[in-house]
């Protein structure tokens, strides 16, 4: 019988702990498929964040390094400077990357560290139970904005990828989504370009991936993908903000 679908080689057989309807699993798989296709499994080092994806080191069959909250880009810098010919990537949520780790991500990007960042934005702190994130939309309820985010009190969501894309050290910056199959395919293409930019030593590369959190949004998985499309994409527009010439083709 012909095999039409299988577990990527870069995924372990460990069962994931993610909630039903969470898109972390999809994103993990996309990264694994890209690593398989680029044939870089044995030279890739991943950095797991603090947050829901803290156990990422259990799911990718790679050398992995677990980092403190927000510090993954600094840890990645240390690793990449020691092993410049390896492929180094971080996997970070929006609380990790856009709040506590703002300094680390901005300066890793500014230095043009040749690492790849997979930035998962679900507009909420998942692991700690649904608090206000730097990316929570205006009006969106969280456990610490129980009446919805009031811009006069809590300010506005941060558009990290647009901000980072203006830095000269950044070679590739894109925002994608994984709320339906067509967008999942686009997301994979972007992740592949980001890794290629690193391999070509173009500079820092980042892919922001809009993701769902049905558990903390308090809605069903099906409602969650619809909510993402209706509410997140208008505020966080999809697309490539910066592409180096050789990976554009």
């Amino acid at each position: 019988m012909k095999t039409v679908f299988k577990r990527p080689q870069t995924m372990t057989e460990k069962q994931m702990h993610y909630c039903p309807g969470c898109t972390h699993g999809v994103i993990h798989r996309l990264a694994a498929e890209v690593i398989d296709e680029l044939d870089i499994q044995d030279k890739t080092i991943g950095i797991a964040p603090v947050g829901c994806a803290v156990f990422a080191y259990d799911y990718w069959d790679l050398d992995m390094h677990q980092a403190a909250h927000g510090r993954a880009p600094a840890v990645a810098t240390g690793i990449k400077r020691v092993h410049p010919d390896n492929v180094v990537f971080t996997y970070q949520g929006d609380g990790d990357l856009a709040a506590i780790g703002t300094a680390e991500i901005v300066h890793a990007a500014a230095r043009g560290e040749k690492v790849t960042v997979l930035f998962v934005n679900n507009t909420i702190y998942g692991m700690t139970g649904g608090q206000l994130a730097p990316t929570t939309l205006v009006g969106q309820k969280s456990t610490t904005t129980p009446f919805g985010r009031d811009e006069n009190h809590s300010g506005y969501p941060v558009k990290m990828t647009e901000m980072l894309s203006v830095l000269d050290g950044v070679s590739y910056a894109a925002r994608v989504s994984v709320h339906n199959p067509a967008n999942i395919l686009k997301a994979k293409k972007a992740i592949k370009k980001a890794f290629k930019a690193q391999i070509n030593k173009d500079g820092f590369s980042i892919v922001e991936i809009l993701s769902t959190c049905p558990t903390n949004w308090g809605i069903s998985p099906i409602e969650a993908v619809k909510w993402l499309e209706k509410n997140m994409i208008p505020y966080f527009p999809l697309g490539e903000f910066k592409v180096p010439e050789e990976v554009a083709r």
């Binding site: 499994q41 044995d42 030279k43 890739t44 080092i45 950095i47 797991a48 803290v54 080191y57 069959d61 790679l62 050398d63 992995m64 390094h65 677990q66 980092a67 403190a68 510090r71 600094a74 840890v75 990645a76 810098t77 240390g78 690793i79 990449k80 400077r81 020691v82 092993h83 390896n86 492929v87 300094a103 680390e104 901005v106 300066h107 230095r111």
Partner: protein, 353 residues
């Protein structure tokens, strides 16, 4: 190689190079800036890399990454910067990674000032960051000792897979002294089969300090404890200066110990049986010489550039057998020989504790 006249910070940096340090991540803070400046110039000459981070928090996390990747790596800072590094130091200890951290201690708390102090003893030896962990801490007292200990620090860090801290102070970092580099041959790091290098031809490696199951974390903490006990057994270091028959024994480390030595010299000339026990390893603390001296000395006088931190370890070691007095100056003020002599006389004449 003969003696050369070098500033403490620069001598330390060169010693790190010889010790095999290939990576340095730091952030400017006085009074230790000569260390990153020296490394920025010197590391590229030996095929190493210097990166100036955006903060101390980031610098220590770069150390965390590079240490996990198998490199000999160092960072340096001074008190407020070391406070910022504590999160990373806890992770490094929790992931059992080797690295060397230098603290050229300045006045505190808060922004304090940039003058020499010894007020980070608690932070260095009692944890600093969160969790049950230990950092191996050395308190050198001369530029020569700074050099010798720094070279060896990388070996010790690798031997135990543990961070090693060199606790200096502004005096030690800034002063110039003749120093001899006993070797100029650059050492290299041992094989590190646990490091993240890309899992080519082997099982993957994971650098981690997370143990979500309480039974697992307890077991890991016990394993760390066993390691610390082994360190305590093997790595206690001290200098005994006329302490074997002394009636009054000074307890001091680092720059302060040198002033105490001068007081001991003067006292001995005058027929007073004074001595000094100078801890060189601050953790593990060399308790045994103090315990022994508690049997024959009349009293101890701990001297620090703090309001009294190491004195607690001296009291634990002496364990109530004899009085342990304290004299401290803070804020960058340095104890004068004459003041220490007066304190000693007061104690010998039965002064109050």
């Amino acid at each position: 190689m003969g003696k050369v006249l070098m500033k403490g910070n620069e001598a330390l940096a060169e010693a790190a190079i010889i010790g095999g340090c290939k990576f340095f991540f730091g952030y400017p803070i006085t009074p230790q800036n000569e260390i990153p400046e020296y490394m920025a110039k010197r590391l590229p000459e030996v095929g190493g890399t210097f990166v100036q981070a955006e903060s101390e928090v980031s610098a220590i996390n770069m150390v965390y990454g590079a240490a996990g990747a198998g490199a000999r790596v160092m960072t340096s800072s001074s008190s407020p910067g070391i406070s910022l590094k504590q999160e990373g130091i806890s992770y490094i200890a929790g992931a059992e990674l080797p690295c060397v951290i230098v603290n050229m201690v300045r006045g505190g708390p808060g922004l304090g000032n940039i003058a020499p102090a010894q007020s980070d003893y608690f932070q260095a030896t009692k944890g600093g960051g969160h969790g049950d962990y230990r950092v191996i801490v050395f308190g050198p007292a001369s530029v020569q000792e700074l050099v010798d200990i720094t070279m060896e620090a990388f070996e010790i860090a690798d031997r135990y897979r543990n961070p090693v801290m060199i606790l200096g102070d502004g005096i030690l970092g800034q002063m110039m002294e003749p120093v001899e580099f006993k070797t100029t041959e650059i050492r290299s790091a041992p094989e590190k089969p646990w490091a993240t290098t890309g899992a080519r031809g082997r099982q993957r490696n994971i650098i981690n300090s997370l143990y979500i199951i309480p039974e697992d974390l307890e077991q890991f903490c016990q394993k760390l404890q066993d390691k610390y006990e082994a360190v305590a057994k093997r790595e206690k270091r001290y200098e005994s200066y006329f302490a074997d028959d002394a009636e009054i024994i000074f307890a001091a480390y680092g720059s302060t110990a040198r002033i105490c030595k001068a007081v001991v010299d003067q006292a001995r000339q005058e027929g007073i049986k004074a001595g000094l026990i100078r801890p060189i390893s601050l953790w593990p603390f060399p308790d045994e010489p103090f315990r022994r001296a508690g049997e024959y000395a009349k009293a101890f006088l701990a001297v620090e550039m703090s309001t009294g931190q190491m004195v607690e370890d001296v009291r634990l070691a002496v364990n109530g057998h004899k009085p342990v007095y304290f004299y401290g100056r803070t804020g960058g003020m340095i104890p004068a020989k004459s003041q220490l002599y007066e304190e000693m006389k007061k104690i010998l004449e039965g002064g109050n504790q």
